[in-house]
C-alpha cells in the first residue's frame, strides 16, 4: 500500500506545472515510470492479499526501483549533483585536516595488518585505536575548517520545499517497503524458494550496473530514437513531430540525365544538391542528394574502414607473433607498443598534425632527406601537403588511427597466443615446417576467434571516427572540401551548429544500423567453420 501511494505521489510530482515544471523528456519518463510503478504495486498488492508467492518479488523489485529513482531525484532537488564545484572549494579550504584523516585511516590499516600477523600482541591494537582517534580528531577539525554552514543552510532551505518533501516521503516509503519485504520472515510467509532468494540476491548485487546501464546508456539511446522522429532543437526552443522525414532527408537520392558533363543542381529535383557526376554509356548523369555531406561521409567512412582495419589488424597479428617469442627484451617492447593505446587521442592527433605539416613537418623532412641520401630515389621538389590534399587527407587519418590501435590489438593477439597448444608448434618443428608455414598453418587459424573479436571492435571504432578528424582538419572540420567528413562528424555538426537534434539523432540511428548490419554480417560469417583458441 505504501508503494501504491508512493507511485501516485510520484505521478503527481512528475506532472506538476508552473515554474518548476520538469523538462519534457524527464517529465515523460517520470510519468511513464510512475504509471508502471503504480500498476506493478497494484498487481503486487493483489498478489500479497491473495498470498501469491511471486507477489513478494514484484513488490521488492518495484519498491527498490522506486527508491532509487526517488533518491536520485531527491539528491537533484538538494543540489547534490551541482555541488561538485563547492565540494572542491570546501576540500581546498580544509585540505590539511583531510590529509590527516587519510594518514589516520592508513595508520588503522597498517595496524590491522600487524594485528592479523600477531593477534596476541598488544601493540597493534593500541596503534589501531590511536589511528581511529587521530582520524576522528582530524574529522572534527575538517568540519570546522571547511565551514559547512552554507551547505547546511542550502539544504535546510531546499528541504522545506513541498516538492522536496514529497520526494523525500516517496524515497523513505519505498525504502521502508523494500526493507520490509526483504525480511526473512516475509520470505518464509510467501514460501519463497531458495532459487528465488538467490536470484533476488544476484539481482541486488547487479542492480548498480544494470540501473546505470538503463539510465545512462539504454535510456538515452531509446530517447534519441524518439527524438529522431521530431524536428527537435538542440537548444530546447522547439519541437514538432515529423514522422520519418528526418530519415527520408538523410537517405534521399535523385538521379538525372544531363546534357553537360558538369551540370549543376538545376537538373535535380528542388532541394537536392549534386553528389557526383557520372558518364554511363555515353550519357551524362548527375547523382544528387538532399544531404550531400552525409553521403560523402558514408563514402569516406567506407574507404576509411577498408584501409584502417587491415592497417590496424595485420601489423598487430605479425607483431604479436614476434612478441610472443621468448627473445630477450620482449616485455619491454610489449609495453612500448601499447603506449599509443593509452595516450590521449587529442594529444596524439596534435602531434601527428605537426608531423604531417607540409613545410616543417618531420614526415616530409624524412622523405626529402631519404631522397637526397639514396641515389636511386628521386626526391620531390617540395613536401607533400598530407592533410590539405584531397587525395591524402583521409589516408593520413588512417595512419594515425592504425598507429593508435594496433598496439591494443597486439595485446589481444598476445592473449590469444597463450591459448595455442604448444604441442602444435612442437609437432610442426618435428615435421620440419619453416617459420612462414608455422605462421600460416598454425598461428593464424588458431587465432581465428581473436581475429574475429579484433576485427569487430576495430571496425566499430573505425565507423565511429570523430576525434582524430576533428583535430587534424582544423579549422574546417571534415576538410579539405569534405574529404574527411565522417558520419559522426556530420551528425555532431547538425546537432550543435545546425541546432537540429532530431535530424542528428536520425543520422545516429542510420549509422547504428550500418554498424549493426556490418557486425551482424561478420557474426554470420564467423559461424562457419570450427574455432578454437584466443579471446572470444
Amino acid at each position: 500500500m505504501i508503494g501504491i501511494v508512493a507511485g501516485v505521489v510520484s505521478m503527481l510530482l512528475a506532472s506538476r506545472t508552473g515554474d518548476d515544471e520538469l523538462p519534457v523528456a524527464i517529465k515523460l519518463f517520470m510519468q511513464v515510470f510512475s504509471i508502471v510503478v503504480t500498476v506493478a504495486h497494484l498487481v503486487a498488492a493483489y498478489g500479497v492479499f491473495r498470498g501469491i508467492r511471486r507477489a513478494r518479488t514484484v513488490s521488492l523489485i518495484t519498491n527498490y526501483l522506486l527508491f532509487v529513482v526517488a533518491a536520485a531525484a531527491l539528491l537533484h532537488q538538494l543540489g547534490a549533483f551541482t555541488a561538485i564545484g563547492k565540494f572542491g572549494t570546501g576540500l581546498n579550504k580544509a585540505f590539511l585536516p583531510f590529509l590527516v584523516i587519510v594518514v589516520g585511516l592508513l595508520w588503522v590499516l597498517v595496524a590491522g595488518q600487524l594485528r592479523a600477523k600477531n593477534p596476541l600482541a598488544p601493540g597493534p591494537n593500541g596503534l589501531r585505536k590511536a589511528g581511529w582517534g587521530l582520524a576522528a580528531l582530524a574529522g572534527v577539525w575538517f568540519v570546522i575548517a571547511s565551514d559547512p554552514s552554507g551547505m547546511l543552510s542550502t539544504i535546510a532551505d531546499r528541504i522545506t520545499q513541498p516538492v522536496t518533501i514529497g520526494t523525500l516521503l516517496v524515497a523513505v516509503g519505498a525504502a521502508l517497503a523494500t526493507r520490509f519485504m526483504w525480511q526473512r520472515r516475509v520470505a518464509v510467509h510467501f514460501g519463497t524458494t531458495a532459487a528465488e532468494e538467490q536470484t533476488l540476491s544476484g539481482l541486488a548485487f547487479l542492480s548498480p550496473n544494470l540501473i546505470g546501464f538503463m539510465f545512462f546508456f539504454a535510456g538515452p539511446l531509446l530517447f534519441s530514437l524518439v527524438v529522431s522522429f521530431f524536428e527537435w532543437k538542440t537548444t530546447g526552443t522547439g519541437r514538432s513531430f515529423v514522422g520519418i522525414d528526418n530519415y527520408v532527408r538523410a537517405l534521399s537520392l535523385d538521379v538525372s540525365s544531363a546534357d553537360a558533363a558538369n551540370a549543376g543542381n538545376e537538373v535535380l529535383k528542388p532541394g537536392y544538391q549534386v553528389l557526383m557526376h557520372m558518364d554511363w554509356f555515353g550519357q551524362n548523369w548527375v547523382l544528387g542528394a538532399r544531404d550531400v555531406e552525409f553521403w560523402l561521409s558514408l563514402r569516406n567512412i567506407t574507404i576509411f574502414l577498408v584501409l584502417a582495419v587491415p592497417a590496424s589488424v595485420l601489423p598487430a597479428l605479425v607483431l604479436s607473433s614476434i612478441l610472443a617469442s621468448r627473445l630477450p627484451g620482449m616485455r619491454v617492447f610489449r609495453a612500448i607498443y601499447f603506449v599509443p593505446s593509452v595516450a590521449g587521442v587529442i594529444g596524439v592527433a596534435i602531434i601527428w598534425g605537426q608531423l604531417f605539416q607540409s613545410t616543417v613537418g618531420w614526415i616530409n623532412y624524412l622523405i626529402l632527406r631519404t631522397g637526397e641520401i639514396l641515389p636511386f630515389v628521386d626526391p620531390p621538389a617540395e613536401g607533400h601537403p598530407w592533410l590539405s590534399s584531397n587525395s591524402t587527407a583521409l589516408l593520413s587519418m588512417v595512419v594515425v588511427f592504425a598507429w593508435m590501435n594496433f598496439g591494443f590489438n597486439t595485446v589481444l593477439y598476445l592473449a590469444g597466443h597463450q591459448s595455442i597448444p604448444k604441442e602444435l608448434y612442437e609437432a610442426a618443428d618435428i615435421d620440419g615446417a619453416n617459420v612462414w608455414q608455422v605462421f600460416r598453418k598454425i598461428t593464424v587459424p588458431q587465432l581465428r576467434n581473436t581475429t574475429f573479436y579484433v576485427l569487430i571492435t576495430t571496425s566499430i571504432l573505425a565507423l565511429q571516427l570523430f576525434d582524430i578528424v576533428w583535430i587534424l582538419s582544423t579549422p574546417e572540420p571534415g576538410g579539405p572540401n569534405n574529404a574527411t567528413t565522417t558520419p559522426v562528424l556530420a551528425l555532431y555538426e547538425e546537432a550543435f551548429q545546425g541546432n537540429d537534434q532530431g535530424y542528428a539523432s536520425a543520422l545516429a540511428w542510420v549509422l547504428f544500423l550500418i554498424i549493426f548490419g556490418f557486425t551482424f554480417a561478420q557474426f554470420r560469417q564467423q559461424k562457419d567453420g570450427a574455432t578454437s583458441g584466443g579471446v572470444s
Binding site: G90, P148, G236, S358, T359, S388, N481, N499
Partner: protein, 459 residues
C-alpha cells in the same frame, strides 16, 4: 559491527556536507535582498537558468572565451573588481570558456538546451543571428533606452548587427548585447627572412603608399625563391583569410544588405583569382595547412592573422618580427575584416537587470583598457585612452598597422540574418578549397556557387 558501520556512514556524510560548504564570497552575498526582476523585450524568462539564488542574494554567472591563460586571469581579475565595486547588489561567478579552436559555442548551445548556461556570455559576431533567431538571447533594448545608455561610443560596424531588428530588416530599437572588443588582420613579418631574400621591407612600402598586391607578390616571390622550406606567405583555410582578398578586390561574400550571395561577382572572382595565383605560383605554404607553426619556425616571410596571434608570436618567434597592414587591393582598400564578439544575456536569466549591469561593467573603457594592456584585443569603444594602452604594448613595434586596418573601411564580421551562416560557410569553404586545390575551375565556381549556397538562405 552495525554501530561502526552507521558511524562510518554518518562521518562520511558529515565530511561531504562539510566539503560542500559554500565559499566565503557566496556566503556574504546572501545578505542582500533580491531585487524585483522583470523580463525585457517580451522574451519568455520563466524557465530556470544559470542565475543562482543563495538565500536571498543573487549570483550572476558569466563566461567569455579567452585566447590564453593570461587573458583568462585578467578576465577573472576584472570579475573580482566588478564584484567588489558592486557591493551587495549581486555577486559574480566567472567561468573561463575554452580557448580558441575548442567548441566553445557547441558547449554553450548544450548548456542552453539543458538550462544550465550562464546568465551572461560572450559569442562571436557571426553567431548573433542564430542565437537571436532561436530566442536564446535577451533584447536589452528596453533596459538600455530606459536609462539612455549611449551606444555611439562603440564602433558602428558591430553595433549595426547588435541593433539589427530582423522583423524590420534594419537596425532598430533592439539591443542584443555590447561588443567585448574588436580586432583586424595584419601581416606578421619575419624581417630576417625578408631581408635575407633581398626583398623590400613591407613596412617601408606601406609607409610610402606602395604596399599593394603587386609589391606583396614580389616580396612573397623573393622569399619563396630562397628555396627549401621557405615560403613567402601563409594563411589558414578559415573563411576570413580568403575573404579578405575578395573584399580587397571590391567584392565580398554577400550583397550589400546581406540577403544574397555575391561570390559570383566579377570583383569577388578577381579576389579568388589572386588567391589562386599565389598558390599556383608556389608563393605560399599549401592551402589548408596551419601557417602559424612554419612562421614561428622562421620559414615563412608573411603570415596573415589577427591581433590574437600576438601573444604566441611574442612567446615563440625567435627572430626579428613585426607586423604590417594588409596590402591594398584593386578595390582601393585592404579588404580587412573587423572581427568582434559581444557579451549577451541569456534569454532565460532570472536576473536581467543584474545581467545588464554586468554587461555594461564588462565593456567600460576602463575594463577594456585592462584587456588591451595584454596586447591581444583592441577596445570596442572608440576610446583614445584604450587605444593608447593598446599601442603601448610592444612588440610588435608597428601596432599602428591594426589601427590602420580599423580605419580602412573594414567589413564587419557579421551574422547572416536571412539564412544559416554555418551552412553558407560550409558550402563556400568547400567550393573555394576545390578551386584553390585545382579540383574545380574558377569558371565553374562563378557559374554555380550562388545556386549552391542558396540552400543556406533557405535554412
Amino acid at each position: 559491527m552495525h554501530t561502526r558501520r552507521w558511524a562510518g556512514a554518518l562521518v562520511a556524510l558529515t565530511l561531504v556536507a562539510a566539503a560542500c560548504g559554500d565559499d566565503e564570497e557566496t556566503s556574504t552575498a546572501t545578505d542582500a535582498p533580491a531585487p524585483e526582476t522583470t523580463a525585457a523585450g517580451g522574451t519568455d524568462t520563466t524557465a530556470a537558468s544559470g542565475g543562482e539564488t543563495d538565500g536571498e542574494g543573487v549570483t550572476i554567472r558569466w563566461r567569455t572565451r579567452p585566447d590564453n591563460d593570461a587573458e583568462a586571469a585578467v578576465y577573472a581579475s576584472i570579475g573580482d573588481q566588478i564584484d567588489e565595486a558592486n557591493g551587495d547588489a549581486f555577486s559574480l561567478s566567472y567561468e573561463p570558456g575554452n580557448n580558441e579552436g575548442s567548441p566553445y559555442q557547441d558547449q554553450l548551445v548544450t548548456e542552453i538546451g539543458n538550462g544550465t548556461a550562464p546568465d551572461v556570455f560572450w559569442i562571436p559576431g557571426t553567431d548573433i543571428a542564430r542565437f537571436q533567431s532561436e530566442g536564446l538571447i535577451l533584447d536589452l533594448g528596453p533596459l538600455a533606452s530606459a536609462e539612455g545608455f549611449d551606444l555611439s561610443e562603440f564602433y558602428p560596424e558591430p553595433m549595426y548587427h547588435l541593433t539589427y531588428d530582423p522583423a524590420a530588416g534594419a537596425p532598430g530599437d533592439v539591443l542584443w548585447g555590447l561588443p567585448r572588443d574588436v580586432s583586424t588582420f595584419a601581416l606578421y613579418l619575419n624581417n630576417d627572412l625578408i631581408a635575407e631574400a633581398g626583398a623590400e621591407d613591407p613596412r617601408a612600402l606601406a609607409a610610402a603608399g606602395e604596399w599593394n598586391w603587386e609589391t606583396f607578390a614580389e616580396v612573397a616571390g623573393a622569399v619563396s625563391a630562397l628555396g627549401g622550406e621557405n615560403k613567402g606567405f601563409a594563411m589558414s583555410s578559415w573563411w576570413a583569410n580568403y575573404g579578405l582578398f575578395m573584399n580587397a578586390a571590391g567584392g565580398g561574400f554577400f550583397n550589400e544588405d546581406r540577403t544574397a550571395c555575391a561570390l559570383d561577382t566579377p570583383e569577388s572572382i578577381a579576389g579568388l583569382e589572386q588567391i589562386k595565383a599565389i598558390y599556383d605560383g608556389g608563393l605560399a605554404i599549401p592551402f589548408g595547412e596551419d601557417g602559424e607553426a612554419p612562421w614561428k619556425a622562421g620559414t615563412v616571410g608573411m603570415f596573415v592573422n589577427g591581433r590574437w596571434a600576438t601573444p604566441g608570436a611574442r612567446a615563440d618567434a625567435n627572430f626579428n618580427w613585426d607586423v604590417v597592414e594588409l596590402p591594398t587591393g584593386p578595390g582601393g582598400t585592404q579588404g580587412n575584416w573587423l572581427f568582434w564578439g559581444a557579451y549577451v544575456v541569456n534569454a532565460n536569466t532570472e536576473h536581467p537587470e543584474e545581467a545588464w549591469e554586468l554587461v555594461k561593467a564588462l565593456t567600460t573603457a576602463e575594463t577594456q583598457a585592462q584587456i588591451s594592456e595584454l596586447g591581444a584585443n583592441i577596445p570596442s569603444r572608440k576610446s583614445d585612452a584604450a587605444i593608447e594602452a593598446f599601442l603601448g604594448f610592444t612588440p610588435p613595434e608597428n601596432n599602428q598597422a591594426f589601427i590602420n586596418g580599423l580605419a580602412d573601411s573594414p567589413t564587419a564580421e557579421g551574422p547572416l540574418w536571412t539564412g544559416s551562416w554555418p551552412k553558407y560557410d560550409e558550402i563556400m569553404n568547400g567550393a573555394v578549397t576545390a578551386v584553390i586545390n585545382g579540383e574545380r575551375t574558377i569558371e565553374d565556381f562563378q557559374e554555380k556557387i550562388c545556386s549552391e549556397t542558396a540552400e543556406a538562405f533557405n535554412s
